[in-house]
Symmetry: C2
Subunit: 239 residues, 2 copies
């Protein structure tokens, strides 16, 4: 099976592209019913193949989920990259560098909210023991990964003079934490915000981050109004 005239062969004994078909079905099922409810057997059923066939392409269920993680990471990076591509503004300018970090963060949050189950899989227990260095080369997405995009954005801020090299040191940590935290809380429904409030929250959060990195206030744009006063949904307490 080097080449196939009709790769997803409909009715032959051999499927032709079962691995990808399973991944696609898994992606859809996870999105529909969550990672907990997903079953390998159902994915196989969906593809029209016996449950055992999956084991010709994945060592076990964990391996399939791992592939989902890798794929999701690629999609996330792609979304961020596209957001960067959409920016107007002279390359190298401080305003552009600030916008780059902002839209990158927005894309991160937006991706999480639009694909919550996938996002949970990507950072859930399935990737705990996942060694990305062992991912086969052809399965890896092309281009910069999400982390690299963040690193480049921060470097861009320094190059454009928006923040100092001293503030840059280790800035990946608060930056990534902030954006990932907001995304996680939204996905976990710990912050029950509607779309408009969510945009405000993201803007406010990124603004706080940039200010925390020492970015000049005039680069931050207009002040962001705080979303509604009751975004709590953590813990119950008696009385």
């Amino acid at each position: 099976m080097k080449k196939l005239a009709i790769p997803p062969n409909g009715d032959s004994y051999h499927h032709g592209d079962l691995r990808n078909a399973l991944l696609q079905a898994a992606l859809r099922l996870v999105a529909e019913k969550g990672a907990e409810g997903f079953s390998l057997r159902e994915a196989a059923r969906e593809v029209g193949v016996s449950p055992a066939a999956a084991y010709r392409h994945f060592e076990d269920k964990k391996a399939l989920m791992g592939s989902l993680v890798v794929g999701g990471m690629g999609q996330l990076a792609l979304a961020m990259e596209r957001a960067v591509d959409g920016i107007k503004g002279r390359a190298g300018s401080a305003a552009r560098a600030v916008a780059e970090l902002a839209v990158t963060g927005q894309a991160y949050v937006e991706f999480a909210v639009r694909h919550p189950e996938q996002f949970q899989v990507m950072f859930g227990p399935w990737c705990d023991h996942l060694d990305f260095t062992e991912v086969p080369s052809e399965a890896k997405p092309r281009g910069r990964d999400a982390y690299q995009i963040l690193v480049d954005s921060l470097d861009g801020l320094v190059r454009a003079g928006a923040i100092t090299p001293a503030a840059r040191a280790g800035a990946e940590l608060p930056a990534w934490s902030m954006v990932h935290g907001l995304a996680s809380l939204l996905v976990a429904k710990a912050l029950p915000l509607g779309p408009a409030e969510r945009a405000q929250a993201t803007a406010l959060t990124l603004r706080t981050l940039l200010r925390g990195l020492g970015c000049a206030p005039r680069l931050l744009g207009p002040a962001v109004p705080a979303p509604d006063p009751k975004p709590c949904r953590t813990v119950p307490c008696r009385r």
Copy 2:
């Protein structure tokens, strides 16, 4: 069963405190083998009871996990409260208010790292459709919940003059996001940091947050060195 002479009765037909025994066993099993690997039957086995007995105390497995979430939230709040209690410094002073936010955040991160599986359960898919307002009153932990502690800390910053009321507006969002994000990334092993680096990362992150809220630099204490230069573990990329 209002009162029992020997509540965890060892050999009688009726257990006496099965609900709590199951929760305790579940907590241990989840901590040991992760939320994915946890099974109600195993918890029942552990307690020495038939699998169906659990259904006298929990509507289904999801309900049991929900109780675990509530319990975890209580423990988290307790850890934060204890951290606040351990602070020296005159109440109402700006330094004290800053320290309060800092130790609170550290406690949050520390809790997540020390109880990673429980933390994942607390903010994972199990609590997606969990309505905290319906938690029975006696199951709720006492005292302030985690979110309230954060709110109070931020209010304390304003009262002590460490940040302005304008900066305070909506500050829960970046604050909670940042701390929760760092905790999540550490738990997901997306940031492979050792204990020392972790402390540095937490300090650096909280420092950035406070600076982002407009806190005067002299209140932030000494500059925090950035942890090692390679804290990435997000996404693989080809070449």
